[in-house]
Each structure stands twice: as structure tokens, then as C-alpha cells.
């Protein structure tokens, strides 16, 4: 079955989630990935939205992460202050999903600005909850198309912390989350090595190592255990397309 780059990324992201986990769901593809996981291998996935919704079971694809379908039939709704305090800061969130305009060698994310902060070349939306999600979810994943400009050696602005400058820096900062455990792109998966540097650990079917390296802004290392991902199944694609019939994201 044919599939788009967005579909490929979303399916691979959804496979990173396990049944029974709590996941802080971000807007866009992460939203799709979590909803796909709940409808396939992780029916007991507990979806949490930063707006203050816990245990959501949306009956339609929400455009925003504050949609009314997230609330009707959910397990719990609380204030945003409670959501960030009692859930995220307290360590009750297993997984976070983030996007971003730039991801660098050490998994740091920029969602704020291209150019200088006070004189922006391109002004992006900014952190939202991603600064806290990156810091405090037990682990997080990034979904983003693989383009050289999106993968610079170093981000212009660190909105959300990956492994900072590598080594023990993140652990020493005292944040409770273990940081980015995978970056899912339309070419493959990058995962951190022991030093917190993102390396190529899996290719999607038909993609070459050379192509990935050419689209990465630093000298990308390749894992000794490089694997190839399974293509999206028919079931996955079918459900995914039902979730986004108007192809807003896919």
C-alpha cells in the first residue's frame, strides 16, 4: 500500500507507545500517533492533554489539543495549573511527544525563533508546554520531517532541552525526565548514544544511509545495529486515514 511521509512518521511514532502508559499528547502528528496507538496495539493508553484533560477517548480527530471531543467521555478534567503541577512536574507522565522547527545533534529543540531572539528572522509559536514536557516527561519523542535545515549542529534557541551539550549535562541538571529517546523522521529513526548524541539507528524501507546523512546538518553517526523499520500495515493506514479524512495532517 502507498503511504505518505506523514503517514510513515505517524505510524512509526505510534509504535513507540506501550499499553497502559500515560502520554502527554501534542498537537498535530503526535495527536494522530497517540490516537492510532489507542486504536491498535495500546487500547489502554492514557492520553493526557496539556489543556487539562486526562484519559481522553476522542471519537473524532481533534484539530486542536483543546477540542471538546477530548472532554466528552474523558476520565478527568482539571485546571492547567493542576495538569502541569500534579501530572507533569510530579512525574506522572511517562511519555511526551514534541515537534519543533529545529532539532540539533544532542536532541535539543527549537520552537521559538530562527535568528536572534530579540530581532527574530522567523518568529515561531514558542514553547507552549514543550519546555516542561521535555524536562519532566519520563521520556519523550520528536516527530519531524528529515531536512537539513531542521537538523542543525546546534539550535538557534533551546526551547526544550535534549541532552544540552551532551555527556552528563542533562542528568546533572536534575530534571526528572530522561530526555529524547527517539526522533522519528520520514527517513528513519535517530536515537541517542551514551553521550546523548543522536545517531541513525533505523532506516525506513527504501531509504539509504547516504540520503539521511546528506539531509542532516552534522556528521551523523550510524549505529552498529542499524535496522530497517517495518512498513505501515494496512490496518494502521486504514485507521490513520479514518482519523484524518480531510488530510489536514497526513
Amino acid at each position: 500500500m502507498e503511504y505518505t511521509a506523514s503517514e510513515l512518521m505517524t505510524v512509526n511514532a505510534s509504535r513507540l507507545l506501550s499499553n497502559g502508559e500515560t502520554v502527554l499528547v501534542g498537537v498535530g502528528l503526535p495527536n494522530l500517533a497517540c490516537n492510532l496507538a489507542q486504536r491498535t496495539h495500546a487500547p489502554g493508553l492514557i492520553m493526557i492533554y496539556e489543556a487539562g484533560v486526562v484519559g481522553s477517548r476522542p471519537s473524532r480527530l481533534p484539530l486542536s489539543i483543546g477540542d471538546p471531543t477530548l472532554v466528552s467521555g474523558a476520565a478527568l478534567v482539571c485546571s492547567m495549573y493542576d495538569l502541569f503541577s500534579l501530572y507533569l512536574q510530579r512525574g506522572n507522565v511517562d511519555v511526551g511527544f514534541l515537534g519543533g522547527a529545529q532539532i540539533d545533534r544532542y536532541g535539543n529543540i527549537n520552537a521559538t525563533v530562527i535568528g536572534e531572539y530579540h530581532h527574530p528572522k522567523t518568529r515561531l509559536p514558542g514553547s507552549g508546554g514543550s519546555m516542561e514536557i521535555a524536562g519532566w516527561a519520563k521520556r519523550f519523542y520528536v516527530i519531524t520531517p528529515h531536512q537539513k535545515r531542521r537538523f542543525p549542529e546546534k539550535v538557534d534557541f533551546c526551547t526544550s532541552a535534549g541532552f544540552l551539550n551532551g555527556g552528563n549535562q542533562r542528568a546533572e541538571s536534575g530534571v526528572i525526565g530522561k530526555g529524547p529517546q527517539a526522533v522519528v523522521t520520514d527517513m528513519g529513526l535517530l536515537t541517542p548514544d551514551q553521550n546523548g548524541e543522536l545517531i541513525l539507528s533505523a532506516l525506513h524501507p527504501g531509504i539509504t544511509v547516504e540520503k539521511v546523512i546528506a539531509n542532516t546538518g552534522w556528521q551523523l553517526k550510524v549505529s552498529e545495529h542499524l535496522t530497517v523499520t517495518a512498513p505501515p500495515s494496512e490496518t494502521e493506514l486504514h485507521i490513520l486515514r479514518e482519523l484524518d479524512p480531510q488530510k489536514i495532517y497526513l
Binding site: 498537537v27 498535530g28 495527536n31 496539556e50 489543556a51 487539562g52 484533560v53 481533534p62 484539530l63 486542536s64 489539543i65 483543546g66 477540542d67 471538546p68 477530548l70 472532554v71 466528552s72 467521555g73 478534567v77 482539571c78 485546571s79 492547567m80 495549573y81 502541569f84 507533569l88 512536574q89 535539543n108 521559538t112 531572539y117 530579540h118 530581532h119 527574530p120 528572522k121 522567523t122 518568529r123 515561531l124 509559536p125 514558542g126 514553547s127 507552549g128 508546554g129 514543550s130 519546555m131 516542561e132 521535555a134 524536562g135 519532566w136 534557541f157 533551546c158 526551547t159 526544550s160 532541552a161 544540552l164 542533562r170 541538571s173 536534575g174 530534571v175 526528572i176 489536514i248
Partner: protein, 300 residues
């Protein structure tokens, strides 16, 4: 004592040029009718604070109401940029002050609690902290580790849309609560807009549902459909189509000004706006009921 008045009176009397205003609501219950009324009454030099400026502040900035914006996520959720705001910031024509969501909400929580500062744990991402001098650090006296602290945010006016309120201002919300309560308690003046004005008995049948007590409320306005194109849980749907359309409209200044002419300056109030949207839109946003199962408080 009834505090009912029209929205235009409320804005006239309680929103002044130069005020710091907080139109509350995270995606849900955004008081668009109040934003449009502020535009019509041509308020100037406002400081506009909201976690997510959303279309409401994009429109108010386009109309020339603001000199500064305070925010934590300046996007059209699920769609892309807020094009007006983005252009103003990139051009250096609008002051801004920026937080993460938790930073923004924490500032309101401090303001609502009468605290001089509020702590949050470090996130290891320090660039925003360096860019915004409101972020400070304090050493935890128990562990000697540093935490991030932020000062209170106390708006001159909070505008809070709710599902139902009584005439005195006791207000109930269900669905996404966002920062409605914190904004109301943090503000010096509180304007409540409500889908429905109900009797005190309705409110008092379920006191755990009440978010805002009457005595902190300045004025109460009955404004059905106040939140469109945002939504009111159980009353009407979010107009996702319009959120996508705004992305096109706001591609040009002309598009934005034409929109304001037709949908803001061109109508006298929310009632006219809603009628102008027409039956097809009304039908598209209609929602069928899904009631809560009642609870028993007991007649003590």
C-alpha cells in the same frame, strides 16, 4: 445584588486604554464577543495577556488595540502561525513578553494567591530564562538546589466566559478549565460573560461546580455564542473550519481589514454576528446532548 449589564456597557465602564487585560480560556470559552466589542470601542495601548493569543488577539492587534503581548504559545492551534502577531513581532512593531505554558499559568496562580513569587522546577532549557528577565532563581533552603521563580501576574481586567452564571456572578464551568479561575482571582476587575443566566438555585444545586464566587465579580453579561469561533462545551462546537479560514484571510492585511469591517465593525453586537453566520453554520456547530449523571448532595 444583580450585576447584569450589556457587554458594551461592561467594556465601556471596565476596560480602559492602557489596561493589562486577560481574556481567559484555553481553546475553550475564548470570549471573542468581548474582543470584538473592545475593537469596536477602539481601545488603545492595551497589554494583551493570554497563554495562547489565538485569533482573538491576532484580530485585536490587527485592529490597533495593543502595544504589547504576553503569551506562551503564539500559534493557530493545529493550523500554523498567527500571522498578524508574527508579522508585528518580526517587524519590531509590538512589544512582547514570553513564557512557557507553566510559567504563564504559574504567574496567574501567584497573582491569584497573593504570593510575591512562585517556584517551578528547572526544565534544563535556559534560553527563555535568559531572554526574559522576569525569570529569576531562588535556592531551595532544604536541598540547596536552585528552582525557577516567577512574579505574580495581576491583570487590570479578566474577561471570563462561562456556561452558566447567576445574576450576582457566581459562575460555573465544565469541560476544559484552562486558567479561568486563576485569571479571575488574579485580576482587579472581572467581567463574566455567560451563555446562560440561571437562578441562584441552579448554581446552589451543585456548589462544587462553581469556579468563581460572586463577590470577586465586577459585572455579568448575558452573551450567547460569545465564544465563536472557539466553543462552549455542551452548547456549540469549535468552528475548526474558521480557524483554517483565518489562516487564509490573514495572509494579507487587506484580508484582515475586510474581515474586521464585515464581522466586527459591521455588526452591532454578538446577536447580530451570530445571525449573520447563518443557518448552515449554526447547523454545523450544533451539538447533541450528553448529560452528566447527577450527584446527590443530600438535604441536610
Amino acid at each position: 445584588m444583580s450585576k447584569l449589564c450589556s457587554l458594551s456597557e461592561a467594556i465601556r465602564d471596565h476596560v480602559h486604554d492602557g489596561d493589562l487585560i486577560y481574556c481567559a480560556g484555553f481553546t475553550h470559552l475564548i470570549p471573542f464577543a468581548a474582543g470584538h466589542e473592545i475593537i469596536r470601542q477602539q481601545r488603545r495601548n492595551l497589554i494583551l495577556a493570554r497563554a495562547t493569543p489565538d485569533l482573538i488577539y491576532d484580530q485585536m492587534v490587527a485592529a490597533g488595540c495593543a502595544r504589547k503581548i504576553i503569551f506562551s504559545y503564539m500559534g493557530n492551534p493545529g493550523v500554523g502561525s498567527l500571522r498578524v502577531l508574527r508579522a508585528e513581532l518580526e517587524a519590531g512593531r509590538l512589544e512582547w513578553e514570553e513564557y512557557s505554558h507553566f510559567g504563564m499559568i504559574s504567574r496567574l496562580q501567584a497573582g491569584a494567591s497573593g504570593l510575591p513569587f512562585i517556584p517551578m522546577n528547572q526544565t534544563a532549557a535556559c534560553d527563555l530564562e535568559h531572554a526574559n528577565p522576569s525569570y529569576r532563581r531562588v535556592t531551595d533552603p532544604y536541598t540547596n538546589r536552585e528552582v525557577i521563580v516567577l512574579p505574580p501576574l495581576n491583570p487590570d481586567v479578566a474577561i471570563v466566559h462561562v456556561q452558566r452564571a447567576d445574576a450576582n456572578g457566581n459562575a460555573q464551568i465544565w469541560g476544559i478549565l484552562g486558567e479561568q479561575k486563576e485569571a479571575a482571582f488574579a485580576a482587579r476587575r472581572v467581567i463574566i460573560t455567560a451563555e446562560e443566566i440561571v437562578t441562584e438555585e441552579v448554581i446552589r444545586s451543585d456548589p462544587n461546580r462553581t469556579i468563581i464566587p460572586d463577590f470577586i465579580v465586577t459585572t455579568v453579561c448575558h452573551v450567547p455564542y460569545c465564544a465563536h469561533p472557539s466553543y462552549t462545551q455542551g452548547y456549540y462546537d469549535r468552528d475548526n473550519e474558521f480557524y483554517l479560514t483565518w489562516d487564509k484571510i490573514s495572509e494579507t492585511q487587506e484580508g484582515v481589514q475586510k474581515y474586521l469591517e464585515e464581522w466586527v465593525y459591521g455588526v452591532v453586537d454578538r446577536n447580530q454576528y451570530w445571525n449573520k453566520l447563518g443557518d448552515e453554520t449554526h447547523a454545523r456547530l450544533r451539538v447533541s446532548p450528553r448529560p452528566s449523571i447527577p450527584v446527590d448532595y443530600g438535604d441536610y
